[in-house]
Amino acid sequence: MKLVPIAALLVAALASPAAFAQKKYDPGATDKVIKIGNTNPYSGPASSYGTIGKAIGAYWKMVNDKGGVNGRMIEWISYDDGYSPPKTVEMVRKLVEQDQVLIVFQTLGTPPNTAIQKYLNTKMVPQSFVATGATKWNDPRNFPWTIGWQPNYQTEGRIYAEHILKNNPKAKIGVLYQNDDYGKDYLKGFRDGLGDKTSMIVKEVSYEVSDPTVDSQIVQLQASGADTFFNITIPKFAAQAIRKAYDTGWKPTHYLNNVSASIGSVLTPAGLDKSVGLISTQYFKDPTDAQWKDDPAIKEFHAFMKKYYPEGNLLDPFNLYAHLVSETLHQVLKQSGNNLTRANVMKQAASLKNYRPEGLLPGIRINTDASDFAPIESEQLTRFDGMVFQRFGPIIGK
């Protein structure tokens, strides 16, 4: 009876259409390889972010060692753009037109991403999970090929404003911010959160990334009589501000932006005793925080760093950030299966449901849909007790 095996085959074919589904590819994807393109500032003023690109490269090396994604190896192509938008344009055109990558991933910085957004959307190449907290990446109607990842700065600014309004409605607030898109985005969210109470801000001072210190700014804020301090600075300046605010005897209620909420790279250099009482937010676990010492995700992360990126700094939270964002893309590629078209990858990036890389804080999940291109939208308030960041209150956001 020769018919039986044929019938069996037919049944099997009908039962699992996926097995016979046509494999679909766009440039950059084959049976063997998926090409992912990236630019990072390995040189220039923002080169401290360069570790992100290196850690992501290490992540894909680990994935390849474990057999790749659905049997395909990941080819990670990352160029230096020195944080210069014209260079980013040139390098991204190289990635798309010459290297023929399937998607562009984690390009870093608001100006560089702004420079390539129109180009990638015209070319219909995913600009996936960009490394900037600006609010404008969540705009699927106008830019359906661009998607953010981290919680945006405005949301976080609003969280602090609400906390101040609730706990100290008579506060006199001093603000220190970096004079660029990042600082101003935070400030806008914060002012929006205060609503008609923006007069609570008694002093706003800014600094440039190229400044040597923010000491004089802190003295100005202290002199303004502020009793509450919103500190919008990147790690180097955050450490200076914390120390100076303590040493001058100004003891404000101190809100520190999440960008610098790292024990290893900010609070330790500033002095742990001087950091007690700092209020911040977090969305992923601080790998230098003792409370996560035995956390499986953090243990796995340490093992990863040791094996694949030993030259990386374990104290640098950007490395865990890189791991988490890579995990998210990994999930998207898994979901895409054998349909590796740019349209499908974008569609899968916009259909993450309750996805959780375990390095995120407990309770925070990634959800996206066709009208929501903001993957992480929740954070939790934390207060530094001299040893660890104690989370308090509910997860804020959705």
């Binding site: 390995y42 040189s43 220039g44 003023p45 160029y79 230096d80 944080y83 210069s84 938008p85 014209p86 344009v89 040139e90 055109r93 190289k94 037109e97 010459q98 910085g109 608001t110 100006p111 560089p112 702004t114 420079a115 957004q117 129109k118 180009y119 004079n179 660029d180 898109d181 101003k184 440039e208």
Partner: protein, 319 residues
């Protein structure tokens, strides 16, 4: 010009015209940037090579030209080609005015004054009272020009030809300026300014004019660069750009018109080659290239080419 000089120029032009039809769009875009840099370097060479004034701030004029184009296109709907004359005039005036007080400064002091300009401009662009026009740190995104008259070429190719046409005009103008009275006066001031003054050259005027014209060239290049990149932001014009321009004219060849083209090729492609050789330390590799060029070709690439041609011609005569 003799026929001997015309033939290589004709060949070069023909090659430049054929190029976009032979290579990928990405390469066309890169060569478009080469043309843009060539115009900027020519401008700086007029000042530094021919007039002997060192500028470490030409990135600022490049930025002003770029912002002129971007603001006019974005806020006032001016077509891209019409922004070039405006950028040229604005930079000519700014350059001339900057040149007037800077006249009192010689050599390194002028270099420092222009350096101050180059360093401060990105912060000025972020200044919040100007944000209405400059877009602050977010910069300005502009649309890419489409080829007109239904030409059967794509936007990259069209922009390349447009830039090429502008570059040819600018090079012809520079050549014309330099071989005339003003050109000779510029060189005379560079070589011996007291003697030049004794000969009746109005040193102050010529130096300021040289500064203005130089800024104008760089400004036009900036406008073309902005149109090609489709985006301007303060981060695009940090002081490093000014240094790169200076590297370009020295490597290409000081006081040489063709040197601007060699220099442009160098600053466009050598950093990329360096990045491909070593991901870890691309600028170290770039530095090695730079030292190599300066040692092997002390007169710049243009000087080396000139010597090679002369040697070949001698050999041909001896035979």
């Amino acid at each position: 010009m003799t026929r001997r000089q015309l033939i290589p120029i004709a060949v070069l032009l023909l090659a430049a015209c054929a190029l976009p039809l032979l290579v990928s769009d990405y390469r066309v875009f890169q060569f478009n940037l080469v043309l843009v840099y060539a115009i900027a370097l020519l401008g700086l060479n007029l000042l530094t090579g021919y007039n002997g004034q060192i500028s470490l701030g030409h990135g600022a004029f490049y930025a002003i030209g770029a912002y002129c184009a971007a603001i006019l296109m974005d806020k006032y709907g001016v077509p891209y080609w019409a922004t070039l004359p405006v950028a040229a005039v604005v930079c000519l005036v700014v350059g001339f005015l900057f040149g007037l007080p800077a006249l009192r400064l010689e050599g390194l002091y002028l270099a420092l004054a222009t350096f101050a300009l180059g360093v401060s401009l990105p912060s000025l662009l972020k200044y919040h009272h100007l944000e209405k026009w400059t877009g602050g740190v977010q910069g300005i995104v502009i649309a890419k020009p489409e080829p007109p008259f239904g030409l059967p070429i794509n936007a990259d190719q069209w922009l390349y030809y447009f830039t090429l046409a502008v570059a040819i005009v600018m090079f012809l103008l520079a050549w014309n300026l330099l071989r005339g009275r003003i050109g000779r006066a510029m060189v005379a001031i560079r070589d011996q300014h007291i003697a030049a003054e004794a000969m009746g050259v109005n040193t102050a005027m010529v130096k300021s004019l040289a500064f203005g014209v130089s800024a104008m060239y760089t400004g036009v290049a900036g406008a073309l660069g902005a149109i090609a990149i489709q985006y301007v932001a303060p981060d695009s014009f940090n002081f490093f750009l000014s240094i790169v321009f200076l590297v370009g004219i020295v490597v290409g060849g000081l006081a040489s018109i063709s040197g601007a083209i060699y220099g442009a090729l160098f600053i466009q492609f050598v950093p990329n080659i360096a990045d491909e050789i070593s991901r870890a330390a691309p600028w170290a590799i770039f530095g090695i290239f730079l030292i190599g060029f300066v040692y092997l070709m002390p007169m710049g690439i243009a000087g080396a080419v000139r010597m090679a041609v002369a040697r070949l011609a001698r050999k041909a005569q001896n035979r």
